[in-house]
């Protein structure tokens, strides 16, 4: 293996022109207004909403009109409006969960939002299996994404 799983931390930053409170609220409470479910979901065909329960131990999940739910993870850190952290195992068992943490920092009149996604080493011996399940589970995601970008 050319790279250790524990060395991988995906870090992303976006700056938005709204205050921290607002940025935090849209990111969490109003996640269903912006999360791209058509491409970023376990069931991209049916799921029509995503819910982030705003408390420690709350669930982050997608839901279809028929009520079927797919849990993505559990909220581990709930510090509004500075920080929210949750486990991340959409479409997989929670024993393979990574960690996602999002921080909200004032930046002028706006907010800097930093996302960190790590914990790949937890996969351990299951790495190949998990990569396979990603490849398989996100097939539809990728094909739809490809379709959308080509269209």
């Amino acid at each position: 293996m050319t790279q250790q799983a524990s060395e991988i931390v995906i870090e992303k930053t976006v700056t938005v022109s709204v205050p921290v409170d607002e940025a935090f609220r849209v990111f969490t409470e109003e996640i269903e207004t912006w999360w791209p479910l058509r491409t970023h979901a376990v069931d991209t065909e049916s799921s029509d909403t995503v819910v982030l329960e705003g408390r420690e131990g709350g669930r982050l999940f997608e839901r279809a009109p028929g009520g079927e739910e797919h849990v993505w993870g559990l909220v581990r850190t709930w510090e509004p409006p500075q920080r929210v952290g949750y486990t991340w195992h959409p479409g997989r068992g929670k024993e393979t969960a990574q960690e996602v943490e999002v921080t909200f920092t004032p930046d002028g009149e706006g907010t800097r939002v930093d996302v960190r996604h790590w914990g790949w080493e937890k996969l351990g011996d299951r790495l190949d299996e998990t990569i396979a399940s990603y490849t398989e589970g996100w097939d539809l995601v990728l094909s739809r994404y490809a379709g959308a970008t080509n269209g």
């Binding site: 970023h40 996302v115 996604h117």
Partner: protein, 101 residues
């Protein structure tokens, strides 16, 4: 990317978990011909899941450790997309609500 949707192909892939193997060994016990196994390996290789290495006259196949890099690449893209959508909505809300404060 539907490389693992086919059950035989998945069986081929699973046989590589224990270490690099030549085609003849991978094919042993599978209910398909050796050329069919080679074809499955080719698809897995194109999907980046399997790697090929020539040793003498034989080709050894193994699980591609760079799959991890692919997962990473995928999630880099994933978060770029998600955050772009977030920014769009967060800032749109601002114009609607700016009079409320």
């Amino acid at each position: 990317m539907a490389a693992l949707a086919d059950p035989t192909r998945r069986a081929v892939f699973e046989r590589l978990r224990s270490g690099p193997r030549p085609v003849v060994e991978i094919a042993r016990g599978l209910p398909v011909s050796r050329p069919a196994v080679s074809q499955h390996l080719r698809v897995l290789k194109e999907a980046g899941l399997v790697r090929e290495r020539r040793e003498g006259t034989r080709n050894f196949y193994s699980v591609n450790g760079d799959g991890l890099a692919e997962v990473r690449e995928y999630f880099e893209e994933f978060w770029d997309e998600a955050l772009a959508a977030f920014k769009l909505v967060a800032e749109k809300g601002e114009t609607h609500d700016s009079a409320s404060e």
